[in-house]
């Protein structure tokens, strides 16, 4: 499944820069998309989504790194090949398609073994799949998660 974010440099001035290729594209495998933890969100903390959090509708994939959770979705397509995603286009050796939270697989330039949660001051150990291993580890049975980063 391919998730395409709105392309509107007027509303989103950041899209005038060339840090990433716009529109922002993300994707999931069909079984990942069908997992109950994959959410199309319209609100947050009991309120409607704000613009900066991806209004009016955004993807939330809690066991993957944040860049997988595309915001302000404008188009959802079913495609037969793994789509090229925004960060993967920008730095393919650093941002893979799967992007599962994994303390054992370093980013090429820094470690992923520790994380800091917003609101907490000190770092803590990263948990594989962000702690959702029970629900999602089965999706990757037999896969080499270092090669499929």
């Amino acid at each position: 499944v391919e998730f395409v974010t709105l392309l509107d440099p007027v509303q989103m001035p950041g899209q005038r820069g060339r840090v990433l290729q716009w529109p922002y594209v993300e994707g999931l495998r069909m079984d990942e998309a069908r997992n109950p933890l994959t959410i199309l969100a319209v609100g947050m903390y009991g309120e409607q989504l704000t613009a900066q959090n991806g209004a009016p509708i955004r993807l939330v994939v809690p066991w993957k790194y944040g860049f997988k959770s595309g915001k302000s979705l404008a188009k959802i397509r079913f495609v037969d090949a793994e789509p090229r995603t925004a960060w993967n286009i920008s730095a393919p050796q650093e941002y893979g398609f799967y992007a599962n939270v994994n303390p054992d697989v370093d980013h090429p330039r820094w470690s992923q073994a520790r994380e800091r949660r917003l609101g907490e001051f000190l770092p803590r150990r990263t948990v594989v799949f962000n702690g959702y291993g029970d629900q999602v580890a089965g999706l990757y049975a037999g896969m080499d998660l270092r090669r499929n980063y």
Binding site: G17, V19, R109, W110, S111, A113, R116, G119, L122, P123
Partner: protein, 198 residues
């Protein structure tokens, strides 16, 4: 009263202001939603800023002929070291939480941290030998030693460039500033040597 007698204290206040602002923000709890990153970014940026400005003193002096301005060069260099020390200590305490194995792994396996640590060590050596006693004791070798500041400038820019995720706009700006300043010095040296032949 000579202008330098006003310029130097004013520059001191300007260079110290970011540290004061940071301390004030820490006191009022206004360190953004990600305080550790904010402190690290601020101290790092101001270290680089002071370093680049200190590298601009001699070109400024040569272009304007205002010799007294050299008196602010050491002060700015030491401010760069001051912010670099805070930046490094932030990494030791708030990022690594004194975890030595992690710190060793970071310095040896993350190139941007390797370069950052090397740059800090250069600044440390320059700071220690910045006093008049060192200048007297080292003589001509002091000048050679303190040319390491060019390497420190380069190291700072590379450290910054290698740690950003994808948006290299800011590191690019610093790289351009550094290139301009070092380019000016290279041109001046070439010019002096060429003209002195006649």
């Amino acid at each position: 009263m000579k202008p330098i007698a006003i310029v130097k204290p004013v520059l001191f206040a300007a260079a110290a202001a970011p540290a004061v602002a940071l301390a004030w923000n820490a006191y009022t709890g206004d360190l953004t939603a990600n305080p550790v990153d904010y402190i690290t970014d601020q101290t790092g940026s101001w270290a680089l800023a002071c370093l680049i400005v200190s590298l601009g003193v001699t070109p400024f002096r040569r272009l304007t002929g205002w010799n007294d301005v050299i008196k602010v060069r050491r002060m700015l260099g030491l401010f760069a070291f001051f912010y670099a020390t805070l930046h490094m200590l932030t990494w030791v305490t708030l990022v690594s939480f004194f975890d030595v194995p992690t710190m060793i792994e970071d310095v040896t396996m993350r190139p941007f941290i390797t370069v950052g640590m090397a740059t800090f060590l250069i600044l440390l050596v320059l700071a220690i030998t910045s006093n008049r006693a060192s200048i007297r004791r080292l003589g001509r070798r002091w000048q050679t030693l303190h040319r390491l500041v060019y390497l420190a400038g380069l190291g700072g820019v590379i450290h910054f460039w290698w740690l950003v995720k994808a948006d290299t706009t800011e590191p690019q700006r610093w790289a351009v500033a550094l290139a301009a300043l070092l380019g000016f010095r290279a041109w001046w040296t070439w010019r002096t040597r060429t003209l002195s032949r006649f």
